[in-house]
């Protein structure tokens, strides 16, 4: 066992493994998936969790398997993961908190789309709702924080930002992230072979679109 072996916590049918960086989480995810032995493989922000069938594996057996697979994990070639381009409309109707966020960053509101679309972004994990994506960015950004009063309704496709972390809402739902734009894309479509539009590890680029383009977007029309 390597001396910097990750911290593993074993429950009766799931195991949570603390991993410091995105590369290790992606490598672990790939190794766990290849084994075919886990009923769930769930990346977190600084961890990955696997679930097992306790009728088939004891927690000890599962933990041994997880450790073996972690030791054998090899880094995933990021170039092999397709980049995702997300069109975003920053129209005032879709961006109630844009001025507030721009103020926190210290730029003019009309410069915000350019600032936002030139940042490096990657999908850290999905969670909260089907297809809901958490993104993080290595580029600096002051902490913005969540809204003091969460909104009762945030529309599907809304893009929130709290600092280096951003998110994309996949369904209409309550939410507390400051909202700076909206994509016409569907983040979750169960009819597709891959129902979630995004996957952990993907690089994301935001591309500014006009209100007219948004309104004419075929998927938006279907909503």
């Amino acid at each position: 066992m390597a001396k910097n072996a990750p911290m593993i916590h074993v429950c009766d049918d799931w195991i949570s493994i603390a991993l410091a960086d995105r590369e290790s989480i992606l490598a672990a995810q790939s190794a766990f998936a290849a084994s075919g032995q886990w009923t769930e493989i769930v990346p977190g922000m600084d961890s990955i969790t696997v679930q097992f069938d306790p009728g088939l594996l004891s927690p000890d057996e599962a933990a041994s398997l997880a450790r073996q697979q972690l030791n054998g994990a090899t880094s995933v070639n990021r170039a092999s993961i397709p980049m995702a381009t997300i069109p975003v409309c920053y129209d005032g109707d879709f961006a109630p908190d844009l001025a507030f966020v721009a103020g926190r960053i210290g730029i003019e509101a009309d410069r915000f789309p350019e600032w936002h679309s030139t940042r490096a972004q990657q999908v850290a994990m999905l969670g909260f709702m089907p297809g809901f994506a958490y993104l993080d960015s290595p580029d600096p950004c002051p902490a913005i924080g969540r809204l003091a009063d969460p909104r009762q309704l945030v529309h599907a496709g809304s893009i929130g930002i709290i600092g280096r972390q951003s998110c994309i809402y996949s369904f209409d739902s309550p939410g507390g992230w400051p909202i700076i734009g909206r994509t016409p894309l569907h983040l979750f479509d169960p009819k597709q072979e891959h129902p979630a539009l995004l996957a952990a590890g993907q690089t994301v680029r935001f591309e500014t679109i006009s209100r007219q383009t948004f309104d004419r977007w075929p998927e938006a029309a279907a909503k």
């Binding site: 799931w14 922000m45 089907p130 979630a196």
Partner: protein, 311 residues
């Protein structure tokens, strides 16, 4: 080939086995909150344990049968009346077009399952058919049933001559006093002992997603938020309020509060019977014992009911 909802009640949804293998894309488990009562009702109706059935919550409901089939009711409902006549739970019943099934409110416990021998048609996605309320998908148009909804059956016909009674040993006891066995979660610190000291009461903020537990605050202010990590039904989180939050079948797949404990898999079906005001005593066990309990429970169920699953 259908059943009509005359009185839908507080929250009646189509639920069967949970969704599996999709938590990494944010898809919750959904599925029956009390998988054991579901499995019993389905067995009585000649179906597999995880087949889609009606999950009824707290208040009374009325269904009108529109084709001959077998039905079975298992759960916390106070009574079952078919055409006004008291009918016991836990046995197969033949019903005919025009019959009405009145399922009473729950005086203790929370959920009741109505299974039918005919296959209930539900929206399929990701290999499952249960209702996922958060995404408005699966089940009956992704939502709880309303008065006058008509739920269709497939053309496959019914299971034939089945006449079953639940063995006494398998009949759940529905009460408002629960003991749930727990093991420490990844961020447990010493908080598991704390939450096992005194019973909690389920708060009024209770749903299929989860429930706030009222009681002596555990480690208030000790933790803030943490980077989001995987959670499961039965995970007990500790938000900054110090009031533990017990996750249910519709829980989000990830959360940012410390995961202080996990209800063992063998006991998770009991979460489906918790209602506001229920008392919950947590008892700490070990992962080794949790595995033994789960395997014993599954083997007892399987020996009497055939292939059954708990989640």
């Amino acid at each position: 080939m259908s059943i009509r909802i005359l009185k839908a009640g507080l929250q009646t949804t189509l639920q069967g086995a949970p969704f599996r293998g999709h938590r990494h894309i944010g898809m919750p488990s959904a599925g029956a909150a009390d998988g054991l009562s579901l499995a019993l009702a389905n067995w009585l109706a000649g179906k597999s344990g995880g087949a889609i059935a009606f999950e009824i919550t707290l208040t009374d409901t009325v269904f009108e049968i529109r084709e001959p089939c077998l039905v079975a009711v298992v759960g916390s409902a106070e009574f079952v009346r078919i055409n006004g006549a008291a009918t016991p739970q836990h046995q197969t019943r033949a019903v005919f077009p025009g019959d009405s099934i009145h399922i009473g409110p729950s005086l203790a416990g929370c959920r009741t399952y109505l299974a039918t021998s005919a296959e209930i048609l539900a929206e399929e996605l990701l290999g499952g058919e249960s209702t996922c309320l958060a995404a408005k998908l699966g089940g009956f148009h992704g939502r709880a049933l309303r008065d006058e909804d008509i739920v269709r059956f497939s053309q496959k016909g019914t299971a034939g001559n089945i006449d079953r009674i639940t063995p006494q040993a398998l009949r759940p006891h529905y009460s408002d006093d629960h003991v749930l066995r727990v093991i420490p979660g990844p961020e447990a610190e010493n908080l598991v002992q704390d939450i096992c000291q005194k019973p909690f009461a389920v708060g009024t903020r209770a749903s299929r997603m989860g429930m706030m537990l009222e009681g002596p605050p555990a480690g208030t202010g000790k933790f803030g938020n943490m980077p989001s990590a995987a959670v499961f039904p039965g995970t007990i989180q500790l938000p900054p309020s110090g009031k533990p939050y017990l996750l249910g079948p519709d829980a989000q797949t990830t959360g940012g509060y410390p995961r202080i404990a996990q209800v063992i898999r063998a006991d998770r079906h009991l979460i489906g019977q918790l209602r506001p005001g229920s008392r919950v005593q947590f008892v700490q066990t070990t992962i080794e014992r949790a595995t033994e309990i789960y395997r014993e429970k599954l083997s007892l169920l399987t020996s009497l009911l055939g292939n059954v699953d708990l989640w």
